[in-house]
Symmetry: C2
Subunit: 147 residues, 2 copies
């Protein structure tokens, strides 16, 4: 490998990988969104419901969803309107509201997990070995860049 001589080729290579990476992420996102629509949920509502296998404060859910806490109010409102979760008082701190899944919410969460298993692009197209390789490469890329 002659460093410096293949700079344009390196650029094309990085550009190609970036295109594949965004394409794979977009494919995964679209599959997830379609699955959510089939269950009458928005993607963020589905992610919230999946995260609530155990009750959690609204602020903690905001961290999990990587969004501002002000957004959680509306997400929780809609899930609560549908009877999938309830707001319950947190023991020990009356400022905190825990979001807890109802039995209807638990049922829908299990359905979502089954649907994801059935439609995951990773599970459908890659072998166990290939998935392990992909995980290793993506993890290495991020651990080398977490500055």
């Amino acid at each position: 490998m002659l460093a410096g001589l293949d700079a344009p080729a390196d650029f094309d290579d990085a550009h190609e990988i970036a295109g594949l990476l965004f394409g794979a992420a977009e494919l995964t996102r679209q599959r997830f969104q379609r699955m959510c629509e089939q269950h009458d949920l928005t993607p963020v509502q589905a992610r919230a419901l999946m995260a609530l296998a155990q009750p959690a404060p609204m602020r903690a859910l905001a961290d999990i969803l990587r969004c501002d806490p002000s957004n959680v109010t509306g997400i929780a409102d809609r899930l609560e309107d549908r009877g999938l979760i309830t707001r319950v008082a947190a023991p020990g701190d009356r400022r905190v509201k825990l979001l807890a899944s109802t039995s209807a919410g638990d049922g829908l969460r299990r359905k979502l997990e089954r649907a994801l298993r059935a439609t995951s692009p990773f599970l459908r197209s890659l072998t166990d070995r290939e998935r392990a390789d992909l995980k290793r490469l993506l993890a290495k890329m991020q651990s080398s860049n977490d500055a």
Copy 2:
């Protein structure tokens, strides 16, 4: 591999890979955005300028950027205001306007390409062999799912 018995493990595996994939895409997106800001461009403006190494009709640029044609007007306006591109009449069809890079635009495009070579998370953290593996895995995942 005992099909059916490891379904929960499969779900966790797919969930973990999806997290890594979105994380890698987000990292790449943020690096690109930071680089764009350093050159006083929005990401979509930078992508447009990079796509205009050869002149192209506005409609064709919309396809490349995967956005609605109505958005291209504003993108082109701002690049034209900065003297990076010009609108020129297309030979043979007076409805069409070609967007053509100026020499200033060509210079900035070369700077962007150099900056991307210097900051690409792929080039910085993966070997040639690992990049080839990653490309193969991502391509396989998409070609198996392009229904």
